[in-house]
């Protein structure tokens, strides 16, 4: 591992495709044994970053080290120490799960007997022992992903890259993958996980790097990111949509921050600093103004809101949301 104690280091990575700059000065440092969630909407450059860090893509500029080896100058050394689970389950669909694992084991030069033994161990560990002899094309989405994970763990690499590991999975399959990842992390593997699901980053990652337009624009623990945008939120649900304007004005005056309004849901939402005082004042002011409130709630902001504040658009939406100030 690198002398810095970081399993993954990227400095000023750039990659351009025609007119689009997929990576525009990408910096990252992931300490050994931690999980870093790379969060961003489609097209933010997450996959490009992973492809550079896994030696699949040459950057135009900048440098990157994985497990202490420069990915451009020593790619074959880096490849020994990484596992990659890409966006599609990269498996041979015709072969059985066991045949897939044996094949990848042989490509890691384990030798026939050891490759078979390792395949059996991994099938057992990922709960696929019973289905190991079925062709992969008959696997469910969650099973494929678990097999995909197993295939990336044949050499038990110290650094694992998961590129949107649960995209396209149903909730059950997603749970299966999350459990598998959680148990890996407990074993000390460093994980870089990309996702557009805030829930996923929140659940798996200790550190979240928010990415937009090819750069990391914010970094911190999920809690830090949430506090950074102003702590708690007050949600109001009004009885009458016509009073939304009045309610928003009151909320903004008391909170001293911009309120979000959703006309159709009769909902007004505002970040507040002093939660209890703000809540009491708001109830009184709304009552005085004759605004009828159906529901009022105090809560922590979701990562969706964090994302919106940081980037000006929602996670998953490619167009900016408009007037929201970052």
């Amino acid at each position: 591992m690198g002398s810095t104690g970081h399993a993954i280091v990227a400095e000023g990575l750039r990659k351009r495709y025609g007119d689009t700059e997929a990576l525009a000065g990408f910096d990252l440092a992931v300490p050994e044994g931690t999980v870093c969630g790379l969060l961003g909407p489609n097209g933010a450059g997450k996959t490009t970053a992973v492809r550079v860090l896994t030696t699949l893509l040459r950057p135009d500029a900048g440098r990157a080290e994985v497990a202490g080896f420069d990915v451009v100058r020593r790619p074959e050394q880096a490849r020994y120490r990484i596992g990659l689970v890409g966006q599609h389950a990269a498996l041979d669909e015709v072969l059985s799960g066991r045949q897939n694992l044996v094949m990848f084991g042989r490509l890691y030069h384990l030798g026939a007997a050891r490759a078979r033994r390792r395949a059996d161990e991994l099938l057992e560990r990922f709960g696929l022992a019973d289905t190991g002899d079925k062709p992969v094309e008959r696997y469910s989405g969650g099973m494929r992903r678990r097999l995909d994970l197993a295939a990336s763990l044949i050499l038990a690499p110290p650094v694992l890259f998961l590129d949107e590991p649960t995209t396209g999975l149903d909730p059950r399959g997603r749970d299966e993958v999350w459990q598998a990842v959680t148990s890996l992390v407990a074993g000390g593997t460093t994980v870089l996980l990309t996702t557009q699901y805030l829930e996923e980053a929140d659940r798996l990652a200790g550190t979240i790097c928010v990415m937009d337009a090819g750069r990391v624009i914010a970094e911190g623990s999920p809690e830090e990111l949430k506090s950074a945008i102003g702590g708690d939120q007050i949600d109001l649900v009004l009885r009458d949509a016509g009073q939304a304007g009045a309610a928003a004005a009151i909320a903004e005056r008391i909170a001293g921050a911009r309120a979000e309004r959703d006309q159709e849901d009769r909902r007004v939402c505002v970040p507040v600093r002093d939660r209890v005082t703000a809540l009491t004042e708001m109830v009184r002011a709304l009552d005085d103004a004759g605004v009828q409130v159906e529901d009022i709630a105090l809560r922590r902001p979701t990562l969706d809101e964090v994302f919106l504040r940081l980037t000006g658009h929602r996670a998953g939406a490619s167009e900016p949301a408009g007037e929201v100030a970052a």
Partner: protein, 278 residues
């Protein structure tokens, strides 16, 4: 349960051990493709029997209405063209396999492993050639069953088989290149649009002399026509002959065309495979 973590073998340092790894990796990939046969025997059998069906169709359905140069036997005339056609259509299988691996990310996984980069294509190549050898053997057996024979002895006959496999080998790299470029297995339709004219715009079924001038010229210069003419000569089967340079020098062209295709498409494929990372 306890997991014993396998230690990674040290990467190869000498030329010899690098080569040994490359061969072992190539074999692993070939073995993967051969395992597909065992997993999907029906597909393999259909793939082998389809050209047999085409032979039977031409031999017994259309054969009666065909006049053969020099009054020879139609089936004797037909078979070399059928052999060559089996080789040409192999491009589609190569293309589909290569592009499907890219589309599914299997190629990326291979590239992220510490395996020999050449193995991916070398393994594919070996498996496809084995498949073609088997296909050719089935076609030869089929030819013998419908009355086709070679008349010039085993030496020239083997040379003819060699020319056919050379054509397949050259076209294999066309398939690899197209698969790497288009990386979409659905695009096999586009490949068919390339392959069918190559197969039919030839001297396989009709004499180029009976075609409009420009079309006949294309048919005579078609790489497949060269192989068909040369193998007809080597097997001692009837052919069209012809006065053009291409028709007179078919054996030379049957060597030159595949070599030219190789010189163009082999480096293109290697370069394209490398630039997957750019």
């Amino acid at each position: 349960m306890t997991i014993t973590t396998p230690a990674a073998p040290a990467p190869p340092r000498t030329m010899a051990s690098r080569l040994r790894w490359a061969l072992a990796d190539g074999w692993t990939i070939t073995h993967r493709d051969l395992s597909h046969w065992a997993r999907r025997p029906a597909q393999v059998i259909v793939g082998l029997l389809f050209p047999v069906m085409v032979v039977l169709m031409f031999a017994y359905l259309f054969g009666g209405g065909m006049a053969i140069p020099g009054g020879g036997d139609y089936r004797e005339f037909l078979m070399p063209g059928m052999f060559a056609m089996t080789m040409v259509f192999g491009v589609e299988a190569t293309f589909t396999a290569v592009s499907a691996d890219i589309a599914k990310g299997v190629t990326d996984r291979f590239r992220s492993l510490s395996m020999a980069p050449s193995a991916v294509v070398v393994g594919r190549c070996a498996a496809d050639l084995l498949n073609s050898v088997l296909g050719l053997a089935v076609m030869i057996a089929c030819g013998l069953a419908v009355g086709w024979r070679w008349h010039e002895g085993p030496g020239p006959a083997l040379a003819a088989v060699g020319l056919l496999l050379l054509l397949r080998f050259a076209l294999l790299w066309v398939g690899v290149y197209l698969g790497l470029v288009m990386n979409n297995p659905e695009a096999v339709m586009a490949v068919q649009i390339l392959v069918w004219p190559l197969a039919f715009l030839s001297n396989t079924f009709a004499s180029p002399a009976t075609m409009p001038g420009w079309l006949g010229a294309i048919a005579e210069w078609n790489p497949m026509s060269a192989t068909v003419s040369a193998t007809r000569e080597l097997f001692g089967n009837p052919g069209w002959g012809g006065d053009s340079w291409a028709a007179q020098n078919a054996p030379f062209l049957a060597l030159a065309w595949p070599l030219l295709l190789l010189v163009v498409f082999f480096p293109l494929s290697v370069r394209r495979y490398r630039t997957l990372g750019r």
